[in-house]
Each structure stands twice: as structure tokens, then as C-alpha cells.
């Protein structure tokens, strides 16, 4: 998501920060580029215009033009505005009532039912809540079956009615069932509808009046075009939505709809759907996303993703190994498998600051990871502990055993050395983390390759060789 936007901003800002002094013309030119980048990302035309106008005003002010580093000041202005546009910190769901009732609404095909399942799973796993999933889409063929199948797969109770076409009756029944089961949360999956279909929107208003929900969440496709604004405005006016869930962010939509919807409703984006599996739902962090758009990376999300994969004790052990540089191929193999679970190397690199250019030069084929697994599995225990043992004979044996050319085994070993070096750097970083898992406050954002964290410096250096 936002990848292309990131590319464009990166180039625009490199031009800006590359200069000692900025003229009004420089700013104007940059703003034209920013506007175009936003439009290409499908940000609504009017939203893009307003955004650029407010940034321009501030950039042309004394504070930026007279500063010692005007380029970086301008970038900071854009960052601040972008963060404001995306919303401040993550806003959690309102779980105050019991049952807390959440209604999912949206256009057809935006992903409401899948999201209902994901959300139920997340609330149970992360928040330890008892959830009831209610099928309130009585229109789409097999929508009820879909909720029931998801409920069975996730082992989450569901509520469905096949004896009525009255949605209000269904939601009343669902609430009674949630009380009976003593559920903490009731999720209502509604039928997809057009925001301009007055009758069907009124139906939602009646549902809202009947159950007084804690959250009305608009589920929207991240690839929505210019109409995103109309969709969000209509639903918001009729129902007063409390938040947004963006779906299908695993595509390469540039995510402009996110900016538009957030801007016109003022409501927070609470979650993002990042894949087809039930685990693929993440809390949305606007401030991190703004940094990512500007190519400043998102270390916090990286650490959190890693935390999901690594047990605490295990990660302490790993950290120790990294620091002592005693990380061996066995560890490498187990990490490799975890990285695969985290979405692959390229997805992880996105979260690092300053890796944009580096990544382009890096030709990572995720399939290669399978080869790597095979090669390591073909080594003896001693070789895995100390790859330096691999002389020509041993290397040939491993290559034959795993069905790859000798060169590939050699490559792996040399890459492993590089990885170990990198890891020892990361180990140092992890050591500096405060108890809540956050890294020390980041230095002021700098773009254009001047401030890069030391690990990445090393990676870049290697990358060029």
C-alpha cells in the first residue's frame, strides 16, 4: 500500500532537500508534483487540492524559507499535514458496553463478511473477548452460509435466521442471543448497499435505532476511486459512522481513498485488511503510515510484527546470540521460516527507513527462500553451527543433496555472513529498546539519504557490491 506514493514523494523531496536555499518557484514546483502524486494515488481531486493549498501556504511562510535547512523544513510540513490528514494516533474500538455492538456497513464487495470474521478473531485473540457473529445480510445468496463457515473455522459462535427477511428482527434476536451467551462483543455483518439507495440506507438507520451500537464501521476497498468521498459522506451523514476499516491493502492500490475518506468524514481509520487469511487484519497507526509514505520507514510495526512471531524467551535468546555474534545456520533457518510467516523479506524491508532505493537494486526472489531451506537442511549439524567448515568437498555434497548448483551454496554462505553482521547490529538496537517495546525516540526525520540507521548503511554498502 502507498508504495507508489512513497516512490513519488521520495523523488520530490530529494529535489527539495538537495538544495541549500529554496525559492518560491521551487516550492511551487514541488507542490505541483505533490498534487500530481496524490491524484495518481486516487486521492479525491478536491481533497488533494485542499491539502496542497494548506501545505503551500505554510511552506511559503517565513519559518520555512528563512530556516537554515528549508528543504527539510518543507518535508516536515508535508509530514505533519499528512499525519493530520490520516489522523493522529490509533483509535481503539469502544468496548465499554456489554455486549459492545459493532455494525459493519459498506458497498457490495468491499469485504464486510470476511472482515467480520477477521475482527472477531482479533478481538478474541488480542483482547480476550467472547464474540458473537451475526449474519444480517439476508440478500446476497449464501452470505449466511459464509458467516457460519467462518464461525466454524474460527470456533466463534454465530447467529443466523433463515425464517425472516426483516433485518431489524434479526439484529434484535442477535442482541438477545449475545446477552444469553454473555458475549462481550456482538458483530453485525450487514448486506452491501449503495450509499445512494435511500431505502436500504434507511434500513440501516432502523438497525442502528434498534440496537444503539457502540461502533458503526464503514468497510471500504482501498482501491476505491474518486467516488470514495461520496460513499463516505453519504453513509456518514445517514448513520454517523464511528470508524473506517480499509480492505484489500495487499493489492497495490495507492491508498488515496484512505486519505479522502478520512478527510471528509473526520472519522478514524481503525483497521486495515492486508490479506485473505483470517489473521490478516491490523490496527491502523496513522503516524506510522505517514512516515511510511514519506519513505521514513516504520520500525515500530516491524518490531510488533516480530513480537507476534517470536516468543519472549526465544527472542531474548536470539537477541543474546545476535549480540554475541553466535547466530548460526540453525537459527538462520528458524528465522527464515518466521520471516516467511511475517510476509516475506520484501514486506519487511518496507518497514525499514531508507530502504527504498536499496530495495530496487536488490533482486529478491521469495521462492529462493525455499532453496535456502533445502540447502540448510542438506548440511550436517556441525556445518550448520559453523558454515566455515564447508570446504569444496562438503559444498559439493550439500549442493548435490539439495539439488542446486555449487555456486548457490557458496552464495548462501556468503549471504549468511552478511546477515549475521546485520543481525549483530540489530541486536544492538533491540538492546536499546525501552520496556514497552519501543525504540528510543527517533531523530528528526531527514530524507535524501543523509540520516540512515547504521544497519541499513551496511546493507546499502553490501548491496552495491
Amino acid at each position: 500500500m502507498f508504495e507508489k506514493l512513497t516512490d513519488r514523494f521520495h523523488d520530490i523531496f530529494r529535489n527539495l532537500t538537495g538544495r541549500g536555499a529554496l525559492s518560491e518557484a521551487n516550492i511551487e514546483e514541488a507542490m505541483r508534483e505533490v498534487r500530481r502524486a496524490l491524484l495518481e494515488a486516487d486521492v479525491n481531486y478536491k481533497v488533494a487540492k485542499e491539502f496542497v493549498e494548506s501545505v503551500r501556504q505554510e511552506c511559503l511562510g517565513e519559518k520555512v524559507l528563512r530556516s537554515i535547512t528549508p528543504g527539510q523544513q518543507a518535508v516536515k510540513v508535508v509530514n505533519d499535514h499528512l499525519t493530520a490528514l490520516l489522523g493522529g494516533a490509533n483509535e481503539p474500538l469502544n468496548l465499554a458496553a456489554k455486549p459492545a455492538i459493532f455494525i459493519l456497513i459498506g458497498l457490495q464487495g468491499s469485504g464486510k463478511t470476511t472482515t467480520a470474521g477477521k475482527l472477531a478473531r482479533l478481538l478474541r485473540g488480542r483482547d480476550k473477548k467472547d464474540v458473537l457473529l451475526a449474519a444480517c445480510d439476508l440478500k446476497r445468496p449464501a452470505a449466511i452460509d459464509q458467516i457460519e463457515v467462518l464461525g466454524r473455522e474460527l470456533d466463534i459462535p454465530t447467529y443466523a435466521r433463515r425464517d425472516t427477511q426483516d433485518v431489524v428482527e434479526v439484529v434484535r434476536g442477535a442482541r438477545a442471543e449475545a446477552s444469553r451467551l454473555n458475549s462481550d462483543v456482538l458483530i453485525l455483518d450487514t448486506a452491501g448497499r449503495l450509499q445512494i439507495d435511500t431505502d436500504l440506507v434507511q434500513e440501516l438507520v432502523r438497525v442502528k435505532d434498534a440496537v444503539q451500537p457502540q461502533e458503526i464501521l464503514l468497510v471500504a476497498d482501498a482501491a476505491l476511486g474518486q467516488e470514495a468521498v461520496s460513499v463516505a459522506e453519504h453513509f456518514n451523514q445517514a448513520l454517523g459512522i464511528t470508524g473506517i476499516i480499509l480492505t484489500k491493502l495487499d493489492g497495490d492500490a495507492r491508498g488515496g481513498a484512505a486519505l479522502s475518506i478520512r478527510h471528509v468524514t473526520g472519522r478514524p481509520i481503525k483497521f486495515i485488511g492486508t490479506g485473505e487469511r483470517m489473521a490478516d487484519l491490523e490496527a491502523f497507526h496513522p503516524e506510522r503510515m505517514a512516515s511510511r509514505i514519506l519513505g521514513m520507514g516504520d520500525i515500530v510495526s516491524l518490531v510488533e510484527k516480530a513480537a507476534e512471531q517470536f516468543e519472549e524467551a526465544e527472542s531474548r535468546e536470539l537477541e543474546e546470540k545476535m549480540r554475541k555474534n553466535s547466530f548460526d545456520l540453525n537459527d538462520f533457518l528458524s528465522q527464515l521460516r518466521k520471516i516467511k510467516n511475517m510476509g516475506g523479506i520484501l514486506a519487511m524491508l518496507d518497514l525499514f527507513p531508507g530502504t527504498k532505493k536499496f530495495k530496487d537494486g536488490l533482486n529478491v526472489d521469495e521462492n529462493q527462500l525455499k532453496h535456502v531451506e533445502g540447502i540448510i537442511c542438506g548440511m550436517t549439524a556441525a556445518e550448520r553451527r559453523d558454515p566455515e567448515l564447508l570446504n569444496a568437498n562438503r559444498t559439493r555434497r550439500v549442493a548435490q543433496g539439495s539439488g542446486v548448483p555449487v555456486q548457490e551454496v557458496n552464495d548462501l554462505v556468503s549471504r549468511f555472513r552478511m546477515m549475521r553482521e546485520m543481525m549483530s547490529g540489530l541486536g544492538g538496537q533491540l538492546g536499546k529498546m525501552s520496556p514497552d517495546g519501543r525504540l528510543p525516540a527517533a531523530p528528526p526525520p531527514q530524507i535524501g539519504g543523509r540520516h540512515i540507521n547504521p544497519i541499513m548503511m551496511r546493507m546499502r554498502h553490501r548491496g552495491r557490491r
Binding site: 459464509q146 445512494i196 476511486g225
Partner: protein, 313 residues
């Protein structure tokens, strides 16, 4: 019976109104038009999801014609835009249902990203062709999404069309192979294969699609004869990337624009056709099985810019 033009017109009413109102307010007929006016026009086209590049190209072209005195009135502008857009959309095969295979069944593969309306479209196509007296079979190859197979089975029962379905999480290529074999043996005219929605960025899923196509060819040589991508009218310029990426895996022979009854403009069809020259076959305009119409580039463009058509009501 409503005319095809009025169906398009109703479908695009909301879009057309804001676009045309925009044109009317930007261009006055009392003063010469400025570069700024044309920039506004570009903005209007971008707001119809035509994308930055296509909008700029169309507007530059119009401006040049204005400078040369070829167009002078607001009516001219709208007509010229409608003509230009029609020209872009008039790819060979646009609006044509399908080319029957030399040896039946003709296999039509429906592909697209998640939530674009593949399953509903499959049912609508089955209904339409059965009305034409053709023997149609449906294959439910979305074995991934919960209850997707049930969805198509429900539809099959509603439109009275046989459905070959796989078990949840079974190999979709195997289902497709079964269906193709059965369709051939049972003398079907058409086999409609509904596939799981997939993001074009997911390599494994795209590879799976390639495999489905190759497997079908094993049961029916030369198949799939048609591969159609469903495009959601509400999606922005990412639709262009979707079309580009899908066509790398399975050469697309057609597009179906879905949900055109909403406020989505389907404007992304213009940059898709401009770049990839894929004909638009049908337009989905509602949730009922009858809500599918052959696509007409001229009607679409004329409805978009509210240009009067001779012979239309």
C-alpha cells in the same frame, strides 16, 4: 422495455450530472477559454476516474482543437469528449457476447480481484445465454472463500443452470478440469468458470490462475476461449494495474464493468482500453439476474457527457 441507451443513461446519471454541470460552469460562451478553464476540465475528468495521464491527453487534444477553431461551444466540448472517449472504447469486439469455439463447449473464464462481482456476473451470463437457447454449465472454482461455492450453487438453482462445484479448499484447477470434461461430454454450448477473487500482487494466487487455464486446455483443447476480467465501476485507476497484471498471466479477451448502477463511474475503462486495447463486453447494472447488458461504447460515452443521440428517447 427500456432502451439500451436509457439503461446506460440511468446507470450513469449521477456521474453525468456532476461532470456536465462542471463543464457548464467552467466554460462560458461569452469569453474566450483560458488555460485555466482547460485545467478545470482536466480536474473534472480526473474526478471521473479517467486518471491523470488520460485526462491530460484528452484535454490537450481538445485545447488544440479549440485553438484551431474546430470547437467553440460547450455543446462542442461535450460532443468532442464523447467522441474521443467512444473512440478509445471502441476496441474490436466491444459489446460482442463471445466468439463460439469451433468445437463446443466455448469456455469462458471469469477472473478479477476480490469483491468485483464475478459470481453474480457468472449467474447473469448463464441466465442471459440460456434465454438465447444455449446450453450453459457453471463451474464454481472459488474453493477458497467461505461459502463462495454455495453462493454460485444458489444462483445456479435460481437461474436453473447446472453447476459443477468443488469441495471447500480443494484444488480449483481440478474442479475446472472436471467441469470442462463434463461440459464436453454432456454437449454443453458454454462452460462458465467462476474463479476466486485474487489480488494481482499475490504471485502464488496468480500462478494458480495460470494453472487453472492450462488445466482447462487439457480437457478442452484451445480453451479457455474467452478470459474476462470483472472491473468494479467504483474502483479508481488501480483497475488499470489490475488489468495489466492479469493479462500477463491469462491473456484477457474482454472486460465486464460491474456495479455501474452505483455512483461508480467506470471511468477507469478509458485508461484501460487506451493502454491495453481490451474490449468491454458487458455492463452489470444491478443485483438481479437480468441486470446485465451488452456494452455500448457510444452509449456509455454519450451518457457520460449527456450528449443527445439521434434516435434515442
Amino acid at each position: 422495455m427500456k432502451s439500451l441507451f436509457s439503461i446506460f443513461k440511468n446507470g450513469l446519471q449521477k456521474t453525468a450530472t456532476s461532470l456536465v454541470r462542471g463543464v457548464q460552469s467552467v466554460f462560458t460562451e461569452t469569453k474566450p477559454w483560458t488555460a485555466e478553464d482547460f485545467e478545470h476540465l482536466e480536474g473534472l475528468l480526473i474526478q471521473a476516474d479517467l486518471g491523470v495521464v488520460t485526462a491530460a491527453e484528452l484535454v490537450n487534444d481538445l485545447k488544440e482543437r479549440y485553438d484551431r477553431g474546430k470547437i467553440a461551444t460547450r455543446e462542442d466540448i461535450r460532443r468532442a469528449m464523447a467522441e474521443d472517449v467512444t473512440k478509445i472504447l471502441e476496441v474490436a469486439g466491444a459489446g460482442n457476447p463471445f466468439t463460439p469455439a469451433a468445437k463446443p463447449p466455448t469456455v469462458v473464464l471469469l477472473v478479477g480481484v476480490n469483491g468485483t462481482g464475478k459470481t453474480t456476473t457468472a449467474a447473469k451470463l448463464a441466465h442471459l445465454w440460456q434465454q438465447d437457447g444455449l446450453k450453459v454449465m457453471l463451474a464454481a472454482c472459488d474453493t477458497f472463500r467461505a461459502a463462495a461455492v454455495e453462493q454460485l450453487v444458489h444462483w445456479g438453482a435460481r437461474v436453473n443452470c447446472p453447476v459443477v462445484a468443488g469441495k471447500p479448499n480443494s484444488d480449483p484447477a481440478a474442479v475446472a478440469f472436471d467441469a470442462a470434461t463434463r461440459a464436453r461430454n454432456e454437449g454443453m454450448d458454454i462452460l462458465l468458470v467462476d474463479t476466486a477473487g485474487r489480488q494481482h500482487t499475490r504471485k502464488a494466487l496468480m500462478d494458480e490462475l495460470g494453472k487453472i487455464a492450462r488445466t482447462i486446455a487439457k480437457a478442452c483443447p484451445g480453451a479457455p476461449h474467452e478470459v474476462w476480467l470483472t472491473v468494479d465501476a467504483g474502483i479508481g485507476t488501480n483497475a488499470v494495474t489490475q488489468a495489466r497484471e492479469f493479462s500477463k498471466i491469462v491473456p484477457l479477451t474482454g472486460l465486464i464493468i460491474t456495479k455501474l448502477d452505483g455512483t461508480g463511474r467506470g471511468g477507469s475503462l478509458v485508461p484501460i482500453c487506451r493502454e491495453l486495447r481490451i474490449p468491454v463486453r458487458f455492463a452489470g447494472l444491478g443485483e438481479r439476474e437480468t441486470d446485465l447488458q451488452p456494452f455500448r461504447p457510444d452509449f456509455f460515452a454519450q451518457a457520460l457527457f449527456e450528449v443527445k443521440v439521434t434516435g434515442s428517447p
